[in-house]
């Protein structure tokens, strides 16, 4: 690869989201902004090797993208009111070229548009990953287990919706903010969830998006430094990420949290998470991401104390279930209760969950099997282990459960 190619790629990585947010906010048309920006990068690949990399690559790209964007807007004969805003981009680009200033960072508005209530829930995370980080649809499709062409259509539909309904690139008002922010946080966390699918790291074909999710979390924190739930989300992701290496043995076998070698946890990430959580606590506004991060923080303390404070964890899950009764929270609360009040009580909690909602929820069956084994109901335990194995997407986890089931014999 030539030096210029490297420069263009670098510019793309550094400024794709910023440039796209800036252009989209002015045109109201994310798809057209993407096309224009892609053309601008292509032009850069053709021009920069001959004339050298410009001193202000972003200003250069902005001017190149702007022309294409105006052509597209005129061609469609819609959003004519947007054209003056597009023409004004030239002035911004000119100012940038002449001064040390950078153009306004509109990525926060773009994040809020991606997670707007008008956008389909399933499209929000893919849209964010594509427009803010520049990920391609095929990679996003694999991470979310969706047919790539269908993912492409989903993204196109979402962008059309933004344009046609004229979603505004603006920050929500104070009264809307908590709900709208939670949607942004959930969308980022969903990207992290896709990363965790690769439980034992045995499946290299499905690379998760954990790193991308953390990048989005860090970006959001930078743009919203005074929102405790933003810090909570990032702390949660960092706590989980800190254990990545410890979640599999040298042979690639799955290692459950309670058996992980704490030496293999990333102390740097844990420290960062703890700092964020402490900062968040200063605001005195608890939320479910802070709570979930706090639970992971208690687990992380095992690195110092050598033991897990299950009482605290159970109390926090109780609180979490009150404010965010997701299936994961309900099952995890039962797991914590098993450590504090015994398997029988925990199993009662599991049985309170409507069975049709957990039919294909693998963690439920894995925990049920574990509890039944402790209750010495070995036949039922075996049956639950089989169910949990059959619902597994990961070979390491499947093998782990197979061994646990074999111990029953």
């Amino acid at each position: 690869m030539t030096e210029t190619h490297v420069a263009v790629e670098q510019a793309a990585r550094d400024s794709w989201g910023r440039l796209l947010a800036f252009l989209s906010a002015r045109s109201g048309d994310v798809a057209a902004a993407e096309d224009a920006l892609a053309d601008a990068f292509q032009a850069a690949l053709e021009t920069w090797p001959r004339r050298g990399v410009p001193s202000k690559p972003e200003a250069w790209l902005l001017v190149a993208a702007r022309r294409k964007l105006i052509d597209a807007a005129r061609h469609r004969k819609v959003h004519e009111e947007a054209t003056p805003a597009l023409i004004a981009i030239t002035d911004v680009a000119q100012q940038m070229a002449d001064s040390a200033e950078t153009f306004p960072d509109e990525r926060l508005k773009l994040l809020f548009v991606c997670a707007h209530p008008a956008i389909d829930l399933n499209s929000r995370t893919p849209l964010m990953l594509q427009v803010v980080l520049g990920l391609d649809a095929a990679r996003i499709a694999s991470a979310f287990l969706v047919k790539p062409s269908a993912m492409g259509q989903r993204l196109t539909r979402a962008k059309t919706k933004i344009r046609v309904t004229g979603l505004r690139f603006e920050l929500p008002g104070a009264s809307d903010l908590p709900g709208r922010l939670d949607a942004v946080l959930e969308a980022i966390y969903a990207a992290y969830g896709s990363g965790w699918d690769d439980v034992a790291g045995a499946d290299n074909r499905r690379k998760g998006l954990a790193k991308e999710a953390i990048d989005l979390g860090k970006l959001l924190l930078q743009l919203m430094p005074a929102e405790p739930e933003v810090q909570g989300l990032l702390a949660l992701m960092l706590h989980c990420e800190a254990r990545r290496e410890a979640r599999r043995s040298d042979r690639g076998a799955y290692v459950p949290l309670s058996e992980q070698d704490v030496v293999r946890w990333s102390s740097a990430m844990i420290e960062e998470a703890e700092r964020l959580l402490e900062n968040a606590a200063q605001f005195g506004r608890i939320g479910h991401f802070q709570l979930e991060a706090a639970i992971q923080s208690v687990h992380a303390h095992r690195a110092q104390s050598g033991q897990t404070d299950w009482e605290s964890i159970a109390v926090m899950y109780e609180a979490l279930v009150r404010i965010a009764p997701t299936m994961g929270a309900l099952v995890s609360r039962a797991a914590a209760v098993a450590e504090t009040r015994g398997a029988e009580t925990a199993f009662q909690l599991l049985k309170e969950i409507p069975i049709q909602s957990v039919e294909t929820y693998q963690p439920y069956w894995a925990l049920a099997a574990h509890l039944l084994k402790r209750m010495q109901r070995f036949d039922d335990a075996k049956s639950a282990y089989t169910r949990a194995m059959g619902l597994c997407e990961d070979s390491g986890m499947r093998e782990f459960l197979r061994q646990k089931a074999a111990e029953l014999n």
Binding site: L121, R243, T360, E393, M397
Partner: protein, 140 residues
């Protein structure tokens, strides 16, 4: 999309419902995988993974048929070439991965079919092809 977390170790997605459709999950195996089904050294591991999967599909109430297939060297292919019937030993196309079995499942959409395909305990080099079944004329 709701992401749900257990001990921060497992996440699944839960999606809204829809009308059931039939999909065929075709399991493709390479020669090593075909052997692993019967080799005394590996067959326990193979069936120990596969049978729970079959059971989970059945218990979910979506199983609409299926079978495992003997290896491709047992295949016989019949084709018509220039109006002449030609019967040959072996599969229709010689590829590294061959069809080793299939399920028909009734699920609401392709995303749900993909979720089930992802649970298939594929060995290294294996995989699943997912296709909707056709609706014939007058069947709608």
């Amino acid at each position: 999309m709701n992401v749900i977390i257990l001990d921060a170790e497992n996440c699944v997605e839960i999606e809204p419902g829809g009308k059931p459709m039939k999909y065929m999950l075709m399991f493709y195996l390479n020669q090593t995988e075909f052997n692993s089904r019967t080799d005394p050294k590996t067959r326990d591991a193979f069936w120990g993974s596969f049978l729970p999967y079959l059971r989970a599909v059945r218990e979910a109430g979506i199983f609409a048929g299926g079978a495992g297939l003997e290896p491709p060297d047992t295949a016989t292919s019949l084709r018509i070439l220039d109006g002449t019937r030609l019967v040959q030993d072996g599969p229709f196309a010689e590829t590294k991965e061959q069809l080793g079995g299939y399920f028909l499942i009734d699920v609401r959409d392709l995303d749900a079919a993909l979720e089930w395909a992802a649970r298939y305990p594929a060995g290294p080099g294996g995989g699943v092809e997912i296709r909707p079944t056709m609706t014939g004329p007058g069947e709608e």
